[in-house]
């Protein structure tokens, strides 16, 4: 074997005093880290295969296992970090593009953590959500610009189709293919139970999930996989995906080995063929082209469903959003650079795009300045990690948020960031039947419902603290936010004052 330049990233620490050799770790590790050695009479581990997904740790009945980051060190310096050195070695070994999963992990500023929320004192008293009504219901879609009456003076209903959300949180697009059948089932059932929506992503809609149509957003992306009339009609809204926060400017690639019979049928492509989503939509080169697709989809569904256009947060996001708002879209979804993915080139994931907080503030301000904010709802995603992030997003101007990474964490994801291998030990980002089985949707659905219910409680508490009793009164209410540790430019873009001001 050639010289190995890389030392394993993690170490498997087993407390042999506690290990009863039940071999659950061995049976549960798709990476084949653990093994029972009959001669030694104990469990042994090959840590070079470990991705630190914690499946073995979570299932060990005697808590005999833990995974630690190796303290083996390169001769690092401020410029040539261990990560930079490792990546050069990996590329020198393989000659390939580095692939990664989930969101941008680099230590860029997280603006959510530099925003503080207000609370009432003395005047404008705070509200106790346990005693008084607190409205978190949200409607997404274009709002009527004015009142219209017919010749007899009767009101004309000029309301366009709306999405009604019990909580301002939806599950963002993850395709059937990138995630498993059981992960989709969990999301669909949770969306129904919570009175919100999940998103099919670009993989079509499995026939079993048409029953959740009233809580489903169907996606049309550049590959147009699984798009047909019944699919469009099944959903409550249609989303056109122009870009994704984790990999703006590039398409997607579902490897042929994941395209089994079910996925082949759902995506309407031959079994075993690679599903390649082109980087652009080949029929969209301008806002006018986008408008054509928006209205084609509206025409196909008889103007009964709102159309969402999803874009990645990039440099000119405000101008792009303004164009999208004028294209006839009812809702704009903006995805920040921390947004997750099943696989993206590492360099793109880590270096392309901008923070969602800045993008959201810029878009909301631009649409307001142009007087077209009411024409569209704004939904943001790209790492909303908690109800505090949610409150800050709404105060910065979002109508609702999309969560996906948080939802997957609720399902058991441990952010090991190796989705691209297809060996997800938690049954999420895999199509291997024995692994998919590990995610029981009865449990998955309950955990998602628990998470969003908990966030809803916290949202109400924080709104109550501010003396606000409806989401409408919080939306775009940037006076409820103050910045900390931000420079003047950042404060200007976010449109917030500094703490103490």
């Amino acid at each position: 074997m050639a010289v190995r330049f890389l030392y394993p990233e993690f170490e498997v620490v087993r407390n042999q005093d506690r290990c009863v050799a039940c071999r659950a770790c061995e049976r549960q590790c798709a990476n084949e880290v653990h093994r029972y050695d009959p001669e030694l009479g104990c469990m042994v581990a090959d840590e070079s295969k470990c991705v630190n997904c914690h499946r073995c740790v979570s299932l060990c009945p005697t808590r005999a296992l833990k995974i630690v980051k190796t303290d083996h060190a390169f001769r690092e310096n401020g410029n040539w970090t261990g990560k930079a050195i490792t990546e050069v070695y990996r590329q020198a070994e393989t000659g390939g593009v580095l692939l990664s999963s989930m969101g941008n992990p680099e230590p860029y500023p997280i603006y959510w953590d530099k925003l503080l929320i207000n609370a009432s004192q003395v005047t404008n008293p705070s509200i106790d959500p346990l005693r008084e009504p607190m409205e978190t219901r949200t409607f997404l879609g274009k709002k009527p610009g004015g009142i219209q009456r017919d010749a007899q003076g009767r009101l004309i209903n000029n309301q366009t189709p709306q999405l009604e959300l019990s909580v301002p949180v939806m599950f963002s697009a993850m395709s059937y293919g990138s995630i498993s059948y059981n992960a989709h089932a969990s999301l669909a059932r949770a969306a129904q139970a919570l009175g919100t929506y999940y998103n099919t992503g670009e993989g079509g809609l499995h026939e079993d999930f048409y029953q959740y149509g009233p809580n489903t957003i169907v996606q049309v992306a550049s590959g147009r996989f699984g798009v047909h009339k019944d699919f469009l009609e099944a959903g409550a809204a249609i989303e056109i995906k122009m870009g994704q926060g984790a990999k703006p400017g590039i398409g997607g690639h579902l490897p042929g080995q994941k395209v089994g019979p079910d996925i082949s049928r759902t995506r309407m492509i031959p079994e075993g063929s690679d599903a390649i989503s082109p980087a652009p939509h080949h029929d969209i080169y301008s806002i006018e082209d986008l408008r054509q697709l928006v209205f084609s989809l509206k025409e196909a569904t008889e103007y009964k469903k709102p159309v969402i256009v999803k874009i990645a947060a990039v440099h000119n996001v405000a101008a792009i959003a303004s164009g999208v708002a004028r294209s006839g879209a009812d809702i704009i979804a903006i995805d920040g650079y921390r947004g997750g993915t099943g696989a993206a080139p590492t360099r793109i994931r880590d270096s392309v795009g901008i923070p969602i907080e800045l993008a959201l503030a810029a878009v909301d301000q631009r649409l307001r300045d142009e007087g077209i904010r009411d024409q569209v709802s704004v939904v943001i995603g790209g790492s909303v990690r908690s109800s505090a992030d949610l409150v800050k997003a709404i105060a910065l101007g979002a109508d609702a948020v999309y969560i996906a990474t948080a939802a997957l964490l609720a399902l058991g994801c441990h952010l090991c960031r190796t989705c691209q291998t297809g060996r997800c030990n938690w049954g999420i980002a895999t199509q291997r039947p024995d692994l998919v089985r590990r995610l029981n949707p009865d449990l998955g659905c309950q955990r998602l419902v628990n998470l969003v219910t908990a966030w809803d409680h916290e949202l109400k508490e924080m709104m109550g603290g501010m003396g606000i009793n409806s989401i409408e009164a919080l939306r775009g209410n940037r006076l409820m936010l103050r910045g900390i540790g931000l420079n003047q430019k950042e404060l200007d873009i976010l449109g917030v004052k500094y703490a103490g001001e």
Binding site: D17, R18, C19, V20, C22, R23, A24, R27, Q28, S58, L59, P61, T62, P433, D434, R437, R438, N440, D442, L443
Partner: protein, 142 residues
Amino acid sequence: MKRVYVNEKWCLGCHLCEYYCAFANSGQSSMVKALKGRRIAPRIQIEERNNISFAVSCRHCTDPICVKSCISGALSIVDGAVFIDSDKCVGCYTCILTCPYGALTHSEQGAVQKCELCKTNEFGVPMCVQGCPNQAIVYEER
């Protein structure tokens, strides 16, 4: 009556139910003390072949053939569940031969052992169910 049921669709074949069973019936205070360095003889056992696996334990049949076949009166039905009195068991193994599920086995303590739904140990609720990571084993009324 609540019984232990198996949803084979969700069984991962991790065998943890066997270890929780062996621990629950060991009388020890921790799993390590109970099972470290021992071969376990659980009352629930995973059957597996290829990609299919499921746990098998006493069904607590409404008309249990093991109770009928017991020559010493060691097996009895209490509130629908089948229990064994090891003081009465003479070790003829007729119950083991007659049980169509293979749910009774030889015991190192008494002559025969079987699942008693953890009603006779300190836990009181079936530990295989508590220990199953995927709700493949449930304890419910059907």
